[in-house]
């Protein structure tokens, strides 16, 4: 167990981060220990208060935070609405509105201690009751929150007959909170009783739609924005701008004190720019920071004065083959395709700066339980031999590409096309609009699907590769794999889990389900005036300790 891992485990077990760092013998330059269990970075000595941070981002609407569908939406409210936990730029999750948490050994009971003295913008104090109200709301079928899909929350609900019938006359099932799933221990302690073990409960609590709302909330949020954050909403114009200002008074006129210590910025301004134009807006001096720029814009970014920030992520592209569709039902074909590809070369071509090489098993180096398998090697001759064996010489296949995460998908596919040519495989790249791709992503024989970053590797594998799960786009089915994954997921200890992950990763890699060439970095840029800007893997804006020099 290295030190970084230790910190992570400590956090998972509910130790205060600072303590964990101290135990790991880290100098802890980043995380505040002395300010007492805060998830934010330490205050910098020369930090100056005041100033407006202008950020270019797409401005979305603020309807119901429980049904957010875009990261941008959550960024707009991230400094108003806060979460039980917070995953930092280092991919480590720390307590936020919760002070600490603990899990039972079977990982079926999670107890959260709610931070005391957290004040709502209307003057109320945050209690466990409020948390319960939020969790109940997420599980309300009428709300339709995607949080129900989180493994943690799904373990709190049961399917019941809604009493209605669908078109075919079958009983319509709805998910409802189980009785006794939530127990209020005291005013600041809440306990979740799960139906199955869940490892990622704290990580789930920083999933962007899990922001904690005041019980007085009615959508849209922008009409009556009450949160616990340091900032309030001053103006929102969708597709134009979103202006946040420091809160000094509660709505009932009292002085507002923020629980999270010092914040520096007076105002945070989001201005709407398309992703393509954010960097040029930055270059033109309109904004101080941007949501993201693409790899194509790297050279432009380098030429502009500013700090380029690259975040390591688990965001990836899975060029996955559906194992039930011919010719991919033949593992020799899949293997040949995988072997003929050179992931390292593709990564170097598509994302020369930052990022990680993919290893075709969908566990990223940034994941804590990542087990490093031997590097995969390109083997063109082997591929040819396999094809010959399978009687599929001069194989011609088509890959569907939707560029759902940007044109780099296509670059990957084209690079693959060139590499596969060496093995005598003809790859046709079928480019289609993103919306069309999402209609066929789970059905097509060969498709390039983007997977987003998730804090734990097991989370992804559970979602995408267990037998029969809805998002199992490759139709991969292996009892062995499921069992190995179960074992890993039941293990709280990271070191142990990592060991178990070897089998999991190996099974998936050997099944040659996908060519996963890379984990892409996420780039952003800030002006030299901006200090402490976080490089978050999922582009979550955490501006509490960001400050502007004059």
């Amino acid at each position: 167990m290295n030190r970084r891992e230790f910190v992570r485990i400590a956090a998972l077990t509910g130790l205060a981060a600072g303590t964990a760092y101290a135990m790991a013998g880290l100098a802890d330059p980043v995380m505040a220990a002395e300010t007492g269990n805060l998830p934010f970075p330490a205050d910098e000595a020369d930090a100056q208060s005041g100033g407006i941070l202008k950020v270019a981002m797409q401005i979305q609407k603020m309807e119901d935070p429980a049904t957010y569908s875009w990261v941008e939406m959550s960024n707009q409210t991230r400094h108003l609405l806060e979460y039980l936990a917070m995953t930092g730029p280092d991919n480590i999750t720390r307590p936020m509105l919760a002070e600490s948490w603990s899990a039972s050994d079977d990982l079926k009971t999670w107890t959260f201690n709610i931070r005391k003295g957290v004040m709502w913008h209307n003057g109320d104090e945050l209690t466990a009751e409020h948390i319960k109200w939020n969790v109940e709301r997420w599980t309300d079928p009428a709300i339709g929150s995607s949080n129900v899909g989180l493994s943690s929350i799904s373990a709190l609900v049961e399917e019941v007959d809604s009493g209605e019938k669908d078109d075919k006359g079958n009983a319509k099932m709805v998910k409802k909170l189980r009785d006794g799933a939530i127990t209020l221990v005291d005013s600041h302690t809440i306990q979740f009783n799960l139906s199955k073990p869940v490892l990622s409960f704290p990580e789930d609590m920083y999933n962007y739609p899990t922001a904690i709302l005041h019980p007085s909330f009615t959508p849209p949020f922008s009409d009556n924005p009450i949160g616990t954050g340091a900032y309030g909403l001053a103006e929102l114009a969708v597709g134009d701008k979103c202006i946040l200002k420091r809160i000094t008074k509660t709505t009932d006129g009292k002085d507002f004190t923020y629980w999270g210590g010092k914040v520096y910025l007076d105002e945070i301004h989001y201005y709407n720019f398309d992703e393509d134009n954010q960097l040029t807006a930055f270059a033109g001096g309109d904004v101080d920071a941007i949501y993201e720029f693409s790899i194509e814009q790297m050279e432009l970014a380098k030429a502009v004065e500013g700090n380029i920030i690259a975040a390591r992520t688990a965001q990836t592209l899975c060029c996955r083959m559906r194992v039930t569709e011919p010719p991919f039902d033949d593992i020799r074909v899949r293997k040949a395709i995988v072997m003929a590809c050179d992931n390292a070369a593709i990564k170097a071509l598509v994302y020369p700066e930052g990022g990680d090489i993919g290893e075709n098993h969908h566990v990223a180096p940034v994941h804590p339980e990542y087990f490093e398998l031997p590097p995969i090697k390109r083997d063109v001759e082997g591929a040819k031999a396999l094809l010959k064996e399978a009687g599929k010489e001069n194989l011609e296949v088509t890959i569907d590409v939707g560029n759902t995460d940007g044109p780099w998908h296509q670059s990957v596919a084209e690079a693959m096309r060139d590499q596969l040519k060496d093995a005598g495989i003809t790859l046709n790249v079928n480019v289609m609009p993103a919306s069309n791709y999402w209609e066929i992503w789970a059905k097509t024989g060969f498709g390039a699907t983007a997977w987003t970053h998730r804090p734990l590797g097991t989370m992804v594998l559970s979602l995408g590769y267990r037998t029969g799960v809805p998002w199992n786009e490759s139709a991969f089915a292996s009892a062995e794999f499921d069992a190995a994954l179960d074992a890993a997921e039941a293990t709280l200890d990271v070191e142990e889990r990592r060991a178990k992950m070897e089998t999991v990763e190996k099974i998936l890699q050997d099944a040659a389900v996908m060519v996963q060439p890379l984990y892409r970095p996420v780039y952003t840029i800030t002006s030299k005036k901006v200090h402490g800007y976080p490089a978050h893997p999922t582009q979550y804006h955490q501006f509490n300790k960001v400050w502007m020099s004059a």
């Binding site: 597709g239 040029t280 807006a281 001096g285």
Partner: protein, 315 residues
């Protein structure tokens, strides 16, 4: 006046036809899916089963057949309600007015510069057809008109914004109105458009100058000034007048690329974004405006033509 009546009725017919077609187009599954994607995100949509999707459509009011939505929309528009933008999550009316206001400012300056420039150059060139001045002006106007707006925008940006750094690159005007940011878009449009109007003016002037009544005027012994100012200009400016008014219509097209390139928040950008999003009511409203502007400019040009041309006025 009967003509105007005809035009107005024609306009209403066009509007009805156009908006029905738009409703049909945007009724397609592709567009609904596009709205869903934008609203719910990629994974959000892919996680939906058909029932959920249907429910979502019901929630958005997109499950209603297009003809019913059309009828509803017509009713609302007649009451001054232009509908709701899916993308911007706001009423279309204010959105459209803000965009039109910005485009209006742009158009005002474009016209304020382009009209005198092109008329003066056109008249100077047409006055002495074939002279060196005429040929220079003609060539310059062919030249500038030949450079598409996107290229003009690039060249001006490279020179004035990137190279000399005199002007800002983009015109998003995020911190309020800024005249400097208006300059590149205006220059682009003026540069592209003036040549066309100047050429029309020149052709009209040249034609008038060879006409027999100018010969009559000269052979009547009138001073050259009088011949030009009293006899030639009045007739020569009839055609450019209508052309200029019709440029309004062109401008609505022309601004799209300029506004998108310079990030200027006007009508063109709104339209393009709404169309790409599948934001039916915004597209409808923009089309409404576009057609009204087009037909109105036609009416104005008709009236102006009639007014300026006694041959028609007193027919």
């Amino acid at each position: 006046m009967k003509l105007i009546g005809r035009r107005l009725i024609q306009m209403i017919l066009i509007l009805i036809v156009a908006s029905i077609i738009l409703f049909i187009i945007f009724d397609s599954d592709t567009f609904k899916m596009r709205i869903a994607l934008a609203e719910l995100g990629n994974f959000g949509v892919s996680a939906m089963d058909p029932d959920d999707y249907k429910a979502w459509l019901v929630k958005k009011g997109l499950d209603i057949p297009f003809y019913q939505r059309f009828a509803l929309w017509v009713g609302n528009v007649l009451q001054g309600d232009l509908g709701w933008s899916f993308e911007k999550n706001t009423a279309v009316g204010p959105l459209l007015w803000a965009a039109l206001k910005n485009t209006g400012i742009l158009a005002f300056w474009v016209f304020a510069l382009m009209v005198p420039l092109s008329l003066i150059l056109g008249v100077l060139a047409g006055m002495r057809e074939g002279s060196r001045l005429d040929r220079s002006i003609s060539f310059i106007s062919v030249f500038t008109t030949s450079i598409p707006e996107i290229a003009t925008a690039i060249i001006l940006t490279v020179i004035f914004a990137l190279g000399l750094k005199w002007l800002p690159t983009k015109s998003a005007m995020i911190s309020g109105f800024d005249g400097w940011q208006l300059m590149l878009p205006v220059m682009t449009l003026v540069l592209y458009d003036f040549g066309y109007v100047a050429r029309m003016t020149r052709a009209s002037m040249a034609e008038v100058m060879t006409s027999q009544y100018i010969r009559t005027a000269v052979l009547k012994g009138l001073p050259y000034r009088r011949v030009i100012l009293r006899h030639a200009l009045r007739n020569a400016l009839i055609a450019p007048f209508t052309v200029i008014v019709l440029q309004l219509n062109w401008l609505l097209s022309g601004v799209v690329v300029v506004e998108v390139f310079f990030e200027y928040k006007g009508f063109g950008k709104l339209l393009l974004e709404a169309a790409l999003f599948g934001d039916i009511y915004v597209v409808q409203a923009c089309t409404l405006v576009a057609v009204i502007v087009a037909v109105t400019s036609q009416i104005i040009s008709d009236i102006g033509y009639t007014f300026l041309n006694p041959r028609i006025r007193f027919a």
